[in-house]
């Protein structure tokens, strides 16, 4: 072997070492999160028997809440979403739908369904937003207000909703989500019970594809028909049941799903509202609120509750899935970049010391590392730089580990919530949790890598994910 060959071999050894280190660091953290979450979920399940939602519902101290629903071209799902939000079991709440300049029938469907009349609400804007076109109400539905505005993105629509919100807390809700009847109570419970200030309260989001829906409610939980949706069900279980829960337990929460989350209005206004500089405005706001609280030396917490709070619609085609994942990855990278001072900063506690570096190295850069790995390893095989008897067991281990984590998520679901009552669905979930790692995972890595490249290229635009299932399900 010549000089260059030795050099390449040395380089490959270093690559091997880094691969192993990266593999164990990432999966090690995930394993710890899974074990912690399993224990926590089991305890939480026992506590459900005395959760006291009834008392919270009846209490005069329970603060009023506004549900803010930003909607852009959501004509298929908006009516079901608003219906489910209006049916919330909460003592005092309002719903504000912000039509973000939809080019479809979103606004007209709302006007016609609720017989809305155009009213002239006085515009008071603590947060700057795009131009408003009008506001709509019907005295027969005093809880509902619809605001129409120029298109400005989800963050701008949310800021508009906040401007019209009069309650101390508001809850953001995606226009393709169905709210669980007591979701607002569940989100408010940790806020009321905590002696500390709560920056955000979020919970578990599940996939509604495949469920039977009637009158804005999930009537029967089931698995969707297509493989791409089924695999996302497994993904969501893994992401929510031990990803987010685990971080919450360590106090390192940086992400609470923007599909539905509750915030304190005044704090959000003081922080400047949702940022237009990122496509992941929910995560960016949470990180910013955390930084602000730390800077002002306020004791504040983020809450992740282990209850299902809403059901969202997942993409049903590869093209839409690609859009969604590119956007998520782009938003993650943008948020991490905007908040780099948190990196290994002890002032932010575990969020700065553990969670932020993890999100940066494993979630942010992970897609690039994994994707490059998929290219480099076969190349190294071809050039005889990598040893088959080293990499084949490692690939098997990585697939087994990924399957173990996915199966673990399904088991956490089974041991605690059992939201999929049919035994057939449970077996199917177990099967798909293994199959997920053969093709689907690699595809997701590719989409995320694309998102990462867009971040590097400085691209900033929001890729709209359109849904088609809403109407069919509703029927």
């Amino acid at each position: 072997m010549g000089h260059w060959g030795e050099l390449a071999q040395r380089g490959m050894d270093i690559f091997n070492f880094l691969t192993i280190a990266y593999f164990f660091a990432g999966n090690g953290v995930y394993t710890i999160l899974m074990l912690v979450s399993l224990g926590s979920a089991l305890v939480y399940n026992r506590r459900l028997a005395y959760q006291g939602l009834q008392e919270l519902r009846d209490s005069p101290v329970t603060p009023p809440v506004t549900v803010v629903i930003p909607a852009y071209n959501e004509e298929n799902s908006i009516l079901e979403t608003v219906r489910s939000a209006l049916q919330s079991d909460y003592p005092d709440f309002r719903v504000i739908v912000v039509d973000d300049g939809s080019t479809d029938e979103t606004l007209n469907r709302l006007i016609s369904e609720y017989q809305l009349l155009r009213v002239d609400l006085i515009i008071r804007s603590p947060l700057p937003t795009r131009r408003l076109y009008g506001s709509y109400m019907n005295p027969a539905f005093p809880q509902l207000t619809v605001i129409a505005k120029e298109n400005g993105g989800k963050a701008d629509a949310l800021n508009t909703g906040i401007n019209f919100c009069r309650t101390p807390y508001f809850c953001i809700l995606d226009a393709d989500c169905l709210v669980e009847p007591d979701a607002l109570l569940r989100l408010m419970r940790p806020i009321v019970h905590s002696p500390e200030e709560t920056l955000v309260s979020g919970g578990i989001i599940r996939i509604r594809n495949g469920c039977k829906i009637a009158g804005g409610r999930i009537e029967r939980v089931g698995l969707p028909p297509s493989w791409i949706e089924k695999l996302q069900v497994v993904e969501y279980l893994r992401g929510f049941l031990f990803g987010r829960l685990g971080w919450d337990l360590t106090g390192g929460t940086l992400i609470v799903s923007g599909a539905m989350a509750m915030f304190q209005r005044q704090r959000v206004i003081e922080a400047g509202g949702f940022s237009l500089r990122t496509v992941s405005e929910d995560m960016e706001l949470i990180v910013r609120l955390r930084r602000r609280a730390a800077r002002e030396k306020r004791r504040a917490q983020t809450c992740f509750i282990l209850d299902t709070i809403c059901w969202t619609e997942c993409p049903s085609s590869v093209a839409m899935l690609a859009r969604q994942r590119r956007r998520w990855q782009l938003g993650l990278c943008q948020t991490l970049q905007l908040n780099l001072p948190m990196f290994f900063n002890y002032k932010y506690g575990s969020a700065g010391l553990v969670s932020f570096p993890f999100h940066l190295f494993i979630e942010g850069l992970g897609s690039a590392v994994e994707f490059i790995g998929y290219l480099v390893v076969p190349l190294a095989f071809a050039l005889r730089l990598a040893l088959l008897n080293f990499y084949i067991p490692l690939i098997i281990l990585s697939l087994l580990y990924a399957s173990f984590l996915s199966v673990g998520a399904v088991l956490v679901e089974e041991l605690t919530y059992r939201r999929y009552p049919a035994r057939r669905d449970f077996y199917a979930l177990l099967g798909w949790s293994v199959l997920e790692n053969f093709g689907f995972r690699q595809m997701i890595v590719y989409f995320r890598f694309q998102g990462f490249l867009r971040f590097l290229a400085g691209l900033h635009h929001w890729e709209k994910v359109t849904h088609t299932a809403g109407e069919a399900e509703a029927g």
Binding site: Q9, D13, A49, L121, R124, P195, N389, I396, G408
Partner: protein
């Protein structure tokens, strides 16, 4: 093969085998658990169905209580004791079943076991070590406290008070809730004391809101126990005591103006303190809460205090004074509230306009009069918004069509000149709202009054 790789391969293979084994084992366990649970749930469903039939018979009078109790006792299975108890307690939501259930849980010895369990001496888990372990579990203690609260077990209030000092926060919280549900008057001063401790101790576990929610459930006649806090030198205590009063009065007011502080024991003393010095307290937070409680003070001085609080330097004090007047809805409120429509802070203006529109015809008249008399653009905007959002505009149109010209008709024209409401404007067609406008113009055109008809024609021509 490089040394590093050789060493790692064995580890990787071993780990793969272990992972495979663990995953497989977990799957087998989960499948087995699901099958077992399905059988358990079937049994519990049967129990639930039997209870439904049994309680229906009890309500109909076709089954005697003793027989029903014996049947429930026979249905119970030690392995499902906790779950079956919960299923039984679910029937408390049926008011007709509640007395029988409360009696039954006493007679079947559940209440005693819950009391013992709350003290950590008992559990429903089974014999021996498992039983001791179960008894020590915080979730069992909390569940026992919850059950005692659900059945309103008055004899347990002291025990629940002791549980406020339980090492576990869940137990403390549930005990607090149960005490509120039981509502034993003697527990009120204990809770007030606990609140004091919570405020005084930094880093206390129970939140103020939890304690407030519990204390607000007690009857207003116990407000005398708050006097030491209302007189306290620490402003945090005064603020909390006032907040409790606000919540207690609001929670117990079934119909407007049925609750007054002076009607309850030591209420005069409390009202006196609120009138002076609390309504003049240097702390704006305290003045704001005092303003809220003044809504429930019959004393004539309350009106004078509210008049002064409407001019307070802090906008939220003025806001609470407006809300207080809205609740009073008396001559003083009728005289004072319209002035707040020209307030400098929009939240106060908004609250005043909303309060007036909630008063019905008299309030709307006040709004209309204020709209016509003021030159304050912000006030007129606010009134117009309230008239629109409350749906009053359509009713005003109908009234004008019936009664012809007058103050209301002038106000109506004024609102339309402000190009409001949007759906009444000529360009409403652009919003697909033409039918609403047409219907309203038709109402006006049908009027027997010429000036109304003429205006309708002008509007139509636009």
């Amino acid at each position: 093969m490089p040394f590093f790789s050789q060493q790692v391969i064995y580890g990787v293979l071993a780990l793969s085998a272990a992972l495979f084994a663990v995953s497989f084992g977990l799957v087998i366990y989960a499948v087995g658990r699901r099958i077992r649970h399905e059988q358990d749930f079937q049994l519990l469903d049967e129990f639930r169905q039997r209870l439904l039939v049994l309680f229906a018979a009890l309500r109909d009078g076709t089954l005697a209580y003793d027989e029903a109790r014996a049947q429930v006792g026979a249905l119970l299975r030690p392995r499902f004791q906790l779950r079956m108890e919960q299923i039984l307690l679910e029937h408390l939501s049926v008011p007709a079943d509640a007395p029988a259930i409360k009696r039954m849980v006493e007679d079947l010895g559940f209440a005693d076991r819950w009391r013992q369990g709350l003290q950590g001496r008992n559990g429903a888990g089974g014999p021996g070590a498992r039983r001791r372990l179960h008894g020590a579990q915080f979730s069992t203690r909390a569940l026992n406290a919850e059950n005692l609260g659900l059945i309103g077990h008055r004899a347990s209030w002291k025990l629940l008070c002791q549980s406020l000092c339980d090492p576990n926060l869940d137990v403390q919280r549930v005990a607090l809730r149960s005490l509120a549900a039981i509502g034993e008057p003697e527990s009120f001063p204990v809770l007030v004391e606990h609140l004091q401790k919570t405020v005084a101790q930094p880093g206390a576990k129970l939140s103020e809101r939890d304690l407030l929610a519990a204390l607000a459930c007690f009857p207003l006649r116990l407000c005398g126990h708050l006097l030491p806090l209302l007189r306290h030198s620490n402003s945090a205590f005064r603020r909390l005591a006032l907040q409790i009063l606000v919540e207690m009065t609001a929670a117990q007011e079934v119909e407007p103006k049925t609750v007054y502080l002076e009607d309850v024991e030591r209420g005069d003393e409390v009202a006196g303190l609120i009138l002076s010095p609390l309504a003049d307290d240097p702390g704006a937070e305290i003045r704001a809460r005092a303003a809220r409680v003044l809504a429930y003070v019959r004393n004539e001085r309350a009106a004078e205090k509210l008049r002064r609080l409407l001019k307070d330097e802090a906008w939220f004090v003025r806001l609470h004074a407006v809300r207080s007047l809205a609740r009073r809805h008396d001559a003083c409120a009728t005289a004072l509230l319209p002035a707040s429509l020209t307030e400098t802070h929009w939240r106060v203006r908004e609250a005043a306009a909303h309060a007036l529109s909630q008063w019905g015809a008299t309030g709307v008249y006040q709004l209309v009069r204020a709209f016509q008399s003021t030159r304050d653009v912000y006030a007129r905007e606010q009134i117009a918004e309230e008239i629109e959002t409350s749906g009053e505009f359509a009713r005003m149109l109908a009234r004008c069509a019936a009664s012809g010209a007058g103050l209301e008709f002038e106000a109506l024209k004024g609102i339309v000149r402000m190009r409001k409401p949007g759906y009444f404007q000529a360009d409403a067609k652009a919003d697909g709202l033409a039918s609403g406008r047409a219907a309203m113009l038709a109402t006006l055109s049908a009027s027997s009054h010429s000036e109304v008809k003429e205006w309708a024609n002008q509007m139509r021509a636009q």
